[in-house]
């Protein structure tokens, strides 16, 4: 058993650590003058002629987002005391707990690191970049109705439904290879695109496409469900006689060709973007990132169970007539409930979509060294999420670029981010963080002997840093209109 858990942990770690991002990027990065900004808009052209990303060092990202693990969401001080109370405490403001969750709670983590990255300009207008990035992500969703059911029961759903659709998790790890091109189309318009080829490593997802529990007025319950399990990796799945999954056993000590990136798990995607200089100091930008798919074909397994079932009580007619015991009735009910599921299993492989993002933004330079920006980000993948970032970026020539951002996301409205890039000669260091922990909470225990400090808000944390080699300087177009003297 321990071994099984360990192996499961190894694969989970692979899913998390191996490679790149699932859903998030740092919006602050969008406004910072670093080559990695092109990840958010391929039309972006770095301020250099050649860029070389140092292996592993050039671009590492860790992101975490959730709407439930906030310290303030988990603990509240007991008014008038120095005690701390949990969400289960009678005085806890559970309404705020539910407000923070919204329709569903989620936890999303992602890790990526660029293994190779180069970029260079061609004929001034063109910018070409190539790269190989390992990406991994995991995201889990828990509908708020599940919390409501657990904490408040099903009474509040009489005459309505508890919508548990979307509940589940998905995780992927893959290797992404890209080539990107961008070019000025006109003096004001620059467009770019990026083609991505993916080699999947492992993936797993368990998602309730539909999971709805209706509590009818007569207290009967109707369950409508469509649950899909997808596995792509070294898992051995056994089914019982009813066609239901009996066990999922991660293979012991899988070989690299069982868990490493492979074109058997082939994926392809594109990024497209554009910038448009509306005025000499106003630029509009738009991009679509990760529009594509992954086809998981190596040791893939799909299991789908659908059901539409109403429970209106155990039928005890035969118990009254003395023909059966209640235990027998309950057992038969369980069997019949299982029989109401339609099970479909397949080893034909499956396709997952890349988590597509849409960025729309604009920058305004009131003065030459200051850029004010706004960026809307819409992500699709296990639900649609929207965030809006406002930024102020200060540019001290090519040497220093700093950006301060404010992001509204995850039903939180006090996320301040910060980014800085510092260039000395060809070396450019940058780091970007989307949320500056403005306040921290110190946890003490064991009568003060132990203590640790956590950001008060733990719901949104993205960090990217790297070291680039950047050579040359991009030529700036002179957009001034010649002055004519009669």
């Amino acid at each position: 058993m321990k071994k099984k858990i360990r192996n499961t942990g190894i694969i989970a770690a692979l899913l998390l650590i191996t490679s790149g991002a699932f859903a998030q990027h740092i919006q602050t990065q969008y406004f910072l003058n670093v080559p990695q900004s092109s990840q958010l808009n391929p039309a972006y052209r770095p301020n250099g002629n050649v860029y070389i990303g140092l292996p592993v060092l050039s671009n590492t990202f860790f992101g975490m987002s959730n709407n439930i693990l906030n310290v303030n969401n988990l603990f509240q001080p007991v008014p008038g005391t120095d005690s701390v109370m949990t969400v289960l405490h009678p005085d806890y403001d559970r309404d705020s707990f539910f407000r923070n969750i919204g329709n569903r709670a989620f936890v999303s983590t992602e890790v990526s690191t660029q293994l190779i990255g180069v970029g260079f300009s061609v004929a001034d207008d063109w910018w070409v970049d190539l790269g190989v990035t390992a990406r991994g992500m995991m995201r889990a969703n828990i509908p708020v109705d599940l919390f409501t059911l657990a904490l408040e029961g099903n009474e509040g759903f009489i005459g309505s439904s508890a919508d548990l659709s979307g509940m589940g998790f998905t995780a992927q790890a893959y290797l992404e290879t890209h080539i990107g091109l961008s070019k000025n189309i006109t003096n004001k318009l620059r467009v770019g695109g990026r083609l991505k080829l993916m080699q999947g490593a492992v993936s797993a997802s368990l998602e309730a496409n539909e999971l709805e529990l209706s509590v009818n007025d007569d207290y009967s319950h109707t369950l409508r469900s469509e649950v899909e399990l997808k596995l792509g990796g070294p898992f051995d799945v056994t089914l019982d006689e009813d066609g239901f999954i009996d066990d999922i056993i991660p293979r012991e000590s899988p070989a690299f060709n069982e868990v490493g990136p492979s074109f058997q798990n082939f994926g392809m995607g594109i990024d497209v973007g554009a910038t448009y200089d509306l005025m000499h100091n106003i630029r509009l930008t738009a991009s679509i990132i990760d529009l594509g798919y992954m086809k998981w074909g190596r040791e893939s397994f799909t299991f789908k169970a659908t059901n539409d079932f109403t429970f209106d009580g155990f039928d005890i007619s035969e118990m009254i007539s003395g023909d059966k015991e209640f235990d027998q009735i309950a057992e038969e009910f369980g069997d019949s409930l299982l029989n109401t599921f339609d099970f479909v299993d397949s080893e034909d492989g499956y396709t997952t979509a890349l988590p597509t993002k849409l960025y729309i933004g604009g920058t305004y330079k009131p003065v030459n060294f200051l850029s004010l920006g706004v960026l809307s980000r819409t992500s699709v993948g296990m639900g649609v999420r929207e965030s809006l970032t406002l930024s102020a970026t200060l540019m001290a020539g090519d040497v220093l670029s700093t950006s301060l951002s404010y992001t509204m996301t995850n039903r939180s409205f006090n996320n301040f981010g910060f980014g800085v890039s510092l260039r000395g000669g060809p070396v450019q260091f940058f780091t970007v963080v989307d949320q500056i922990p403005a306040s921290w909470v110190e946890f003490t225990g064991d009568n003060g002997a132990d203590s640790f400090t956590l950001p008060q808000r733990f719901d949104y944390m993205n960090l990217r840093f790297g070291l680039n080699l950047l050579f040359g300087k991009a030529k700036k177009k002179i957009q001034d209109t010649p002055m004519l003297v009669e």
Binding site: D82, V84, E155, Y219, I320, T444
Partner: protein, 527 residues
């Protein structure tokens, strides 16, 4: 350049302004937990037809779908002729006749039998029977004795027997009457119990002289025959059954009932086979008693059917005690604790009005069927029962799950196809303080279905009921040691109309549970 520097400085200032704003001492995390989830669920349902739950057997039957309870007992009365008629003792005849000539003829006499008090046998068909004789001669010569029984028909002619008695000898023998029909009524002076007898004595070799001592003694002894039938009059007899009381042992149960129940059509049927050709009249004096009243059965005496001719040896018949000829419904419906009964059987109750016939194998065999058709009316019939409080946990250390409930409610939906409705009252009783702590009255759990003029249900009664266990009631479950359940039953139209229970009646029900938990825990508590 100064402004740039200022901006960057402000930016860093903002970052550095991050500080510890709160401190949580995890040693002081409150372990208090309070949850009040409310749950609803359909718990059970079912549709039960009476024929599904009642398996017909010897006691429970469906007679044209009507439910009946039938109690049958075989051979409650079984007696034969030996129990009724003991026969008659041997009858004897003794006569000495002097022989003074060659022939002594025309000697006539009778043999009287004594079958018992007031029994007058007129004739008897003998299966096997005989008479022992002893003829003693004191004559010095041989004589022949010719014996005739003129009323005994032996194969179409009177019975005769000739026996030679040697001189000075005694002859013993037996007269066989097998298959003969003996008439005991040929003497007009006593046309019963008397058998005429004739004999002649003839001297086969006459002597010269006859001495006074020449005589013959005839001794006959009639043995009790096995007869096919005996006809006559077997007398008036009255056999009384002593008064006795049957304790139904239902006082404890019936005393907890109030209101009224009336069983409309109970009946007791006695089926019998009778081969005694004798009029018998049975009289039963039955009385039901409880604390408040006595009701007598008021059944007229019953004359038992019997065979009137020898050609009809057995009669199969029955008699019934029911609502048409007695107060049986009232007697049963009074819910008697005891039944007092007495009675008598009169044989030839009208005297000697006709001949009786008793066969040699006469027998009276009776079975009894008690039928209680489920045809009744009930008005506010209350049944109370007290049980130990099963909701209370006997172990005071153990957690009481009811403590965590703030609300417990059962919702019932019923489609009642029975003409019977019920309400329930649940009382928590503390026998120490002798007080009812809390009471729940359910109202109508289900109402009786309407019936037609014949008592048959026309449509189900559809309704909802709610049983709510209040917090006070749930709390009191830990104090009370008894629970008193009181059921109140009514049939259709408030028990004013007779209803019948048929096998196709059904009841459809759904029960849902609604509960609200009040879970309060404190993990900081050492308890």
């Amino acid at each position: 350049m100064k402004s740039k520097t200022l901006f960057i400085a402000l930016l860093f200032l903002l970052i550095l302004s991050s500080c510890v704003t709160e401190s949580y001492d995890m040693d002081k995390v409150s372990g208090e937990v309070a949850l009040n989830p409310g749950f609803v669920i359909s718990a059970v349902k079912g549709e039960v037809t009476l024929s599904d739950v009642v398996e017909p057997n010897d006691t429970i039957v469906f007679d044209n779908q009507l439910l009946k309870f039938v109690i049958s007992e075989d051979s409650i009365i079984d007696f034969g002729v030996s129990d009724f008629y003991t026969g008659f003792p041997a009858a004897s005849f003794e006569e000495t006749t002097q022989v003074a000539g060659i022939s002594v003829s025309g000697i006539r006499d009778t043999i009287d039998i004594d079958p018992g008090d007031d029994i007058k046998i007129k004739d008897m068909s003998i299966l096997t029977g005989d008479a022992s004789y002893t003829f003693t001669s004191w004559c010095s010569f041989d004589v022949q004795l010719d014996l005739t029984a003129p009323s005994i028909d032996a194969g179409g002619a009177p019975f005769t027997e000739s026996i030679t008695i040697p001189a000075g000898s005694t002859v013993n023998g037996t007269l066989n009457f097998d298959g003969a029909l003996a008439g005991f009524d040929s003497d007009p002076a006593q046309p019963y119990n008397r058998l005429p007898l004739e004999y002649d004595i003839t001297v086969t070799n006459p002597p010269g002289t006859y001495n006074p001592s020449d005589s013959v003694k005839v001794v006959l002894e009639m043995n009790e025959p096995e007869f096919d039938y005996a006809r006559g009059y077997f007398g008036y007899h009255s056999e009384s059954f002593e008064k006795d009381t049957l304790d139904l042992e239902m006082e404890d149960f019936f005393s907890r009932l109030s209101g009224s129940v009336f069983l409309t059509s109970p009946s007791i049927t006695v089926n019998y086979l009778n081969s005694f050709g004798i009029p018998i009249r049975l009289t039963a004096n039955v009385k039901g008693m409880n604390d408040t009243e006595e009701i007598t059965l008021e059944r007229d005496p019953v004359d038992i059917d019997y065979p009137a001719t020898t050609g009809n040896r057995e009669v199969s018949s029955s008699f019934t005690i029911d609502k048409n000829n007695s107060s049986l419904p009232e007697l049963i419906s009074m819910l008697p604790y005891e039944i007092e009964y007495a009675g008598s059987a009169d044989i030839n109750p009208d005297g000697e009005s006709m001949d009786n016939i008793v066969f040699g194998d006469s027998r009276f065999l009776a079975d009894i069927d008690v039928e209680v058709p489920m045809e009744f009316r009930i008005a506010n019939l209350q049944l109370s029962d007290t049980t130990d409080n099963f909701l209370r946990n006997d172990d005071p250390e153990a957690a009481n799950p009811l403590e965590d409930l703030e609300e417990l409610k059962f919702d019932l939906y019923m489609e009642n196809g029975f003409p019977l409705g019920a309400t329930v009252m649940i009382e928590l009783y503390d026998s120490t303080s002798m007080a009812v702590l809390e009471t729940i009255e359910t109202g109508d759990l289900f109402t009786p279905a309407p019936v037609d003029a014949d008592g048959r249900v026309t449509d189900p009664s559809i309704g909802n009921a709610e049983i709510e266990f209040t917090p006070a009631f749930l709390d009191a479950t830990q104090e009370a040691d008894k629970i008193i359940f009181t059921f109140t039953l009514n049939t259709s139209e408030n028990g004013t109309k007779d209803v019948k229970i048929y096998s196709d009646y059904s009841i459809l029900f759904k029960a849902a549970v609604k509960l609200k938990a009040g879970i309060e825990l404190n993990f900081n508590s050492e308890e």
